[in-house]
């Protein structure tokens, strides 16, 4: 099977700092992949490169067999790469409905889905359990609901690759359980790339784990494999309880 996403020698420098340094990465369709690593390891920079929010200094990115290195972010979204922000950035002054209607109408325009904006948006809200809050301004939702809305927006984009940047950050335990269910649900139709600090969540969800350290891939493998890896223990797991 051909990988959905590959990167070759992907690098990004900020001034003298090599935030991402020659990363070769491959992601198979249908996978749930977790990216872990200590703070400053380059995880967020890496997914930002993949989503097109920042441009690489060198290297290339291939999505579904096509070179997307020079595509602007919005074009990548239209190809099916959706990105949910680490810091919640829903449109606070717009209603939850409008927040979701935006991605829905996008997919309609692109011809990637059919039907009406209203139905599509409500479906995404139903799926995340926000339907009854559709007409509340997003800024007035609780933090947990805002995170869910963020996911709903990602879902509404009908992604083939959904990038979730620390989705459980700030969520209560009960919310996290719901969330794990939701991601599994999503993974039935899409490939998921997940940056996560919460190790139990990672271990429960991920098919494979990629460990970043200092801008490079330190290790990659199944959760069991990673758990057993001494280097990873050293660099990362050992420092967390």
């Amino acid at each position: 099977m051909m990988p959905l996403l590959t990167t070759k020698g992907l690098s990004r420098n900020f001034g003298g700092l090599r935030a991402v340094d020659g990363v070769d990465f491959a992601l198979m369709p249908g996978e749930i992949r977790a990216v872990i690593g200590p703070n400053g390891a380059g995880k967020t920079t890496f997914v930002s490169l993949v989503s097109g929010r920042i441009q690489p200094s060198s290297g290339m990115i291939v999505f579904d067999g096509g070179d997307i290195t020079n595509l602007p972010a919005y074009a990548r979204v239209r190809l099916g790469i959706a990105y949910t922000f680490q810091i919640t950035s829903v449109f606070a002054n717009l209603t939850a409905y409008d927040n979701v209607a935006l991605p829905v109408q996008r997919t309609l325009t692109d011809g990637r889905s059919k039907g009406a904006v209203y139905a599509g948006a409500m479906a995404a809200l139903e799926r995340t359990g926000l339907a009854d809050r559709a007409h509340m301004p997003a800024g007035q939702l609780s933090y947990g609901h805002q995170r869910l809305l963020e996911v709903a927006m990602g879902l509404a984009l009908k992604p083939r690759l959904l990038i979730l940047d620390e989705p459980t950050q700030g969520l209560a335990d009960s919310e996290i359980d719901n969330f794990i269910g939701l991601v599994r649900e999503i993974a039935k139709g899409a490939t998921v790339l997940l940056i996560e600090h919460n190790m139990p969540v990672v271990m429960q969800l991920a098919d494979r784990i990629t460990v970043f350290n200092a801008g490079r891939i330190l290790a990659e493998g199944t959760p069991e494999h990673i758990r057993a890896n001494a280097e990873v223990q050293d660099a990362y797991l050992g420092t967390t309880p």
Partner: protein
């Protein structure tokens, strides 16, 4: 916000149009004439609001779009002898084309730089009008001959200098632009514009080419302003460089802020309000600018969202 009470919003707007229509028959002559002018300039404000209110792009150069329409239409009549509809179309085309060019350049910037760049392009436009004084009349401007300001519809010809014809022409233009604006802001496209205003980065990550959307908004906005300018030239018979000066770039901003940015009726309310404040105070004192200044400060202190914006915030959440 969008799906709620569409009927109410349309009813309100049609009601406003009906009211303006009815006013034509009861208003005293002076206010009748003044209102015709206000409606034309409210179109200018609506065009400005399209960009400033909904996309959040603060331009200080919209006088150039207004005067592109003004000169486009006016000079077509004066030098080429075009008919009123053709001249109006020429004005629109000039505005749209100018907006496209300016948009492509100015949208490379944002924030304060966007303000300054638009202001400077407008200044260039103003100076060009002065430079080609042989055709534009320079700072003195030109009169559009009364004999040419006749609208021929089939067998009837309507003189645009007739107060009723002028009022109704202004009302037709105003109504069309108002309804177009309402449709746009309630459309998918309008939703995208607001999203860009709220968070452009996020909008990009939802798959929107924000540059193209903003460019389209600049063109729509510029074209509406040009429509106002073209109508001004044809209805009131004068084209002059004053209308391209920076003062006329600040005026629509004021009108929109007063009436309420990102409200469809705000531009009309703001223009109306400002006109009557100047008109009334200039009767009491020659220092009316003082009163206008104080009024502005009081408004911004106590009604920071403008008149309609405050009403929407406090009482009528469904106002578009």
């Amino acid at each position: 916000m969008k799906e709620a009470s569409p009927a109410k919003a349309y009813a309100l707007h049609l009601g406003v149009i009906a009211l303006l229509f009815a006013l034509s028959f009861v208003l005293p002559e002076y206010h009748h004439g003044l209102l015709a002018r206000i409606m034309v300039l409210a179109v200018f404000a609506m065009g400005y609001n399209m960009l400033f209110g909904y996309v959040g792009l603060l331009s200080l150069g919209h006088a150039m779009f207004f005067s592109a329409g003004l000169y486009g239409a006016g000079l077509a009549v004066i030098h080429l002898g075009w008919s009123v509809p053709a001249a109006f179309a020429a004005g629109l085309a000039c505005g749209a084309l100018l907006a496209l060019v300016i948009g492509v350049l100015a949208l490379r910037t944002s924030g304060v730089a966007f303000m300054i760049v638009t202001m400077m392009f407008a200044q260039v436009f103003y100076l060009i009008i002065l430079y080609f004084a042989a055709w534009t009349g320079g700072d003195q401007g030109l009169v559009v001959p009364q004999s040419a300001r006749v609208l021929v519809l089939g067998d009837t010809s309507l003189g645009l200098t007739n107060p009723t014809v002028r009022y109704m022409s202004a009302l037709v233009l105003f109504s069309i632009v108002l309804l177009v604006a309402l449709v746009i802001v309630r459309s998918r496209y309008g939703r995208v514009l607001v999203a860009i205003r709220e968070n452009e980065e996020r909008t990009k990550m939802l798959g929107y080419d924000t540059f193209s959307n903003k460019l389209a908004a600049v063109v729509v906005s510029g074209t509406i302003c040009a429509a106002s300018g073209a109508a001004y030239a044809l209805l009131f018979g004068y084209v002059g460089s004053t209308f391209a000066s920076v003062q006329y770039s600040i005026l629509p901003l004021l009108w929109v802020l007063l009436g309420g940015a990102a409200t469809t009726l705000g531009p009309l309310i703001g223009t109306l309000f400002m006109y009557y404040v100047v008109d009334i105070t200039s009767g009491y004192t020659s220092a009316y600018l003082l009163i206008v200044g104080i009024a502005l400060i009081l408004l911004v202190l106590f009604f920071p969202r403008g008149i309609l914006g405050t009403i929407r915030q406090r009482w009528l959440g469904w106002l578009p």
